[in-house]
């Protein structure tokens, strides 16, 4: 029948075309594949070693000026970049962005653009090209290829939309000879000159989980709210939290996917409150945290012990209600670092091969300070965006 005929045909066609490997851009896979095999088990996100390392890193005093956390690094291993040194500045820097599809990325993107302007004024960066993949891995692969093929990028900055899937594209970018800088989410290859990221998901998840364990009576109930499954940075947060809850006497009522939609969050919390007490809320990201809190208000229940994020709407709610809460931070200021790193690399300065930025939760203690600092910032802004010293501040972030 035609179905099968066409199937065979297309299958044959594929096989044939694959046989004719007259390649233009090679992917040398050995190291790619090895590392790939490593972390992406798919099913199990918990890697004991990474978990422990990140928890230690929280204690380590980072090198560099605390006033400029985006330039600090936790036990860096500096690499020589003289091979990439470029005479006369005016470099063309290309940035492949996964997306600006959530407030955290929007805030960071503004910060990066502000930083770029400064560097352009200093003449360190000439043209700054960016592309946005709207969270579509395939799109981003094309974007990166386009940069590589255009051949005018002196440095390529990549914020991968998904770790494993972008690996081949990043590899290809490295092979193009231009220095590659990866930040935020990683990739399964170490071919990038530097990989910039805060301590990481395990630490983030642990910060909140430990806070709940410390602040709740044994036997208390905790509801976990997650955005969506399958994104490594988020899965690590949950994996760490599970690890910690596992050793505690807290009862986990359930873990729900909310898509970060406030209405969804409020629905779910409301329904849990109908079924019984909820003493604590753990979230893998702060989006919609306020809606979760309101669910308690509307149900006339006492405030839970809350794990949010350094998103202002939550921190302001936290402040006015005076509830027990913590705001884990996935350092938004990391968006400044890549462009700075690019200029460093292009001027042959050393950079950490893995550039681990500090990542400290905001606690009761420093809540007021950060609210103070961001007094006139919009509600979906992130407290630790670290752009206060940039010329565009505050307008660039306030009226975007």
């Amino acid at each position: 029948m035609n179905t099968t005929r066409l199937a065979v045909a297309s299958a044959a066609a594929l096989g044939l075309l694959l046989a004719t490997a007259c390649t233009t851009d090679e992917i040398d896979d050995p190291d790619t594949q090895e590392t790939a095999a490593g972390e992406e088990g798919g099913d199990d996100w918990f890697v004991q070693a990474d978990y422990e390392r990140q928890l230690e890193q929280r204690e380590i005093e980072p090198e560099g000026d605390p006033a400029e956390p985006w330039l600090q690094a936790i036990d860096p291993d500096w690499v020589d970049t003289s091979e990439f040194a470029l005479e006369g500045g005016d470099a063309t820097v290309c940035f492949s962005n996964a997306s600006v599809s959530n407030p955290w990325r929007v805030t960071g993107w503004i910060t990066m653009q502000q930083q770029v302007e400064v560097l352009q004024d200093q003449g360190l960066i000439g043209e700054f090209r960016s592309s946005d993949a709207a969270d579509d891995d395939d799109q981003q692969i094309s974007d990166i290829q386009a940069f590589v093929d255009s051949g005018d990028c002196d440095a390529i900055i990549i914020s991968p939309s998904t770790t494993a899937t972008l690996t081949p594209a990043v590899q290809a970018a490295c092979d193009s000879g231009a220095p590659v800088i990866v930040f935020d989410r990683g990739v399964n290859t170490d071919c990038a000159v530097t990989f910039i990221h805060p301590i990481g998901g395990y630490a983030y998840g642990a910060d909140g989980a430990e806070f709940l364990v410390d602040n709740l009576e044994p036997g208390s109930t905790v509801l976990a709210l997650r955005i969506l499954p399958g994104v490594d940075v988020l899965e690590h947060r949950w994996a760490a939290a599970q690890e910690i809850f596992g050793d505690s006497d807290l009862e986990i009522l359930g873990d729900e996917f909310t898509g970060g939609d406030a209405a969804e969050i409020k629905n779910i919390v409301t329904q849990y409150l109908q079924r019984g007490e909820v003493d604590g809320i753990w979230m893998d990201a702060g989006d919609g945290a306020v809606a979760g809190i309101e669910a308690f208000e509307d149900a006339g229940k006492p405030y839970p012990v809350m794990v949010g994020e350094d998103e202002l709407s939550f921190m302001r709610k936290w402040d006015e209600t005076g509830m027990t809460a913590i705001a884990p931070v996935y350092s938004n200021f990391q968006w400044r670092t890549p462009v700075l790193a690019a200029t460093m690399i292009l001027s042959g300065e050393q950079v950490p091969s893995e550039w681990v930025l500090p990542q400290e939760p905001i606690t009761e203690a420093d809540l007021d300070e950060y609210l103070e600092r961001n007094a006139d910032m919009p509600s979906l802004h992130y407290a630790k965006f670290g752009g206060e010293d940039l010329p565009g501040f505050p307008d660039a972030w306030r009226d975007r």
Binding site: P103, T107, G254, A263, T270, Q271, A291, P378, L380
Partner: protein
């Protein structure tokens, strides 16, 4: 009275009967799992959160029964919430004027959808798909990617508050009352000349036109009603949960599913608005049921999909009548 009888007949016949049956079954199971759900408080909470979808369903019904689609409602709901937040920016005084602006915006979007579909003869699926993209992009362009500003307390009243200490019921949410009002309005509208012409248009637009119906006008009006319902839904959702970047995402599919679940036939001309709203209620009830059963979150889409297909297939069977003596091919 005859009309009453016909209504009863319609309710039981075809797809319409299915949805009420399904709704009953779901509630029965919920009750079995957790009788507590039927205490006034939790029931009210349920209706409060269901209200926006029910109102959207009513709006979508008008468009579908007139033979079109409106895929832009999800994006419109989101846009409305963001607009509200940005324009109100925490100022109580601005609440009412801004709501006025939102209503106008909703009407405008509906008008554009309607005119592009009727005058430019673009299939509504494409029109509203395009509108979805435009709204999504435009609203983010306007706010620089993420919502800014904040809602005023009074704006949040309809979606969040209610009439306190009503005997037996406790708090009666405004959202519930608004839902009932919209539902009643929709039912009344379908009994008016407009409604009759609308459904006839969806059934056979040529016959309607030759009978002097303003086919394009009623169809456009349907889109406007959908735009209005999206606005009201936006006000309720924004009020219920405040601003977030993801509000409304994917709602268009949920609401169309709800309407079809209510036995309304895609392509127009068949189905009751009551049933469409019941469909929305059913979907919300289904989500509640999942929660009550503590069904793993990741598994829920599968169950939802299966149930929807089953229900619609079942309804399709019931709707099938004999190809009677007078029936002729084509």
């Amino acid at each position: 009275m005859q009309r009453a009888r016909s209504a009863a007949a319609a309710l039981l016949g075809g797809g319409t009967g299915t949805v009420f049956a399904l709704l009953a079954v779901i509630f029965a199971i919920v009750f079995a799992v957790n009788p507590g759900f039927f205490q006034a408080a939790s029931l009210m909470a349920f209706l409060k959160q269901a209200a926006p979808l029910v109102i959207l369903a009513a709006g979508q019904y008008f468009v579908i029964v007139s033979g079109n689609f409106d895929l832009s409602v999800g994006a419109l709901v989101g846009a409305q919430v963001v607009i509200a937040a940005r324009l109100i920016d925490g100022e109580e005084a601005r609440t009412v004027p801004v709501i006025g602006v939102m209503l106008l915006f909703g009407i405008a979007v509906g008008l554009v959808n309607g005119l592009v579909t009727t005058v430019l003869k673009v299939q509504s699926f494409i029109t509203t798909l395009g509108m979805l993209l435009v709204l999504y992009g435009a609203i983010r362009l306007w706010t620089g990617g993420a919502p800014t500003g904040s809602l005023s307390e009074s704006f949040r009243v309809p979606g969040r508050m209610g009439i306190e200490n009503v005997p037996l019921l406790g708090q009666v949410p405004w959202a519930l009352l608004i839902m009932i009002a919209c539902g009643a309005a929709a039912i009344w509208l379908m009994r008016t000349r407009f409604g009759r012409v609308l459904i006839a248009t969806g059934d056979n637009d040529l016959a309607a036109e030759l009978s002097g119906a303003r086919v394009d006008t009623v169809r456009t009006a349907a889109f406007v009603l959908s735009g209005l319902s999206a606005t009201i839904a936006g006000i309720l959702i924004g009020g219920f949960a405040g601003v977030s970047a993801q509000v409304g995402e994917g709602m268009e599919f949920t609401v169309i599913t709800a309407v079809v679940l209510g036995g309304v036939v895609l392509g127009g001309g068949q189905g009751l608005v009551v049933a469409a709203m019941a469909g929305a209620l059913t979907i919300e009830a289904l989500f509640t049921l999942f929660n009550q059963l503590a069904l793993p979150a990741s598994l829920r889409p599968s169950v939802q999909g299966a149930i929807i297909i089953a229900a619609v297939a079942y309804a399709a069977r019931r709707r099938m009548r004999p190809a009677g003596q007078t029936a002729t091919p084509s």
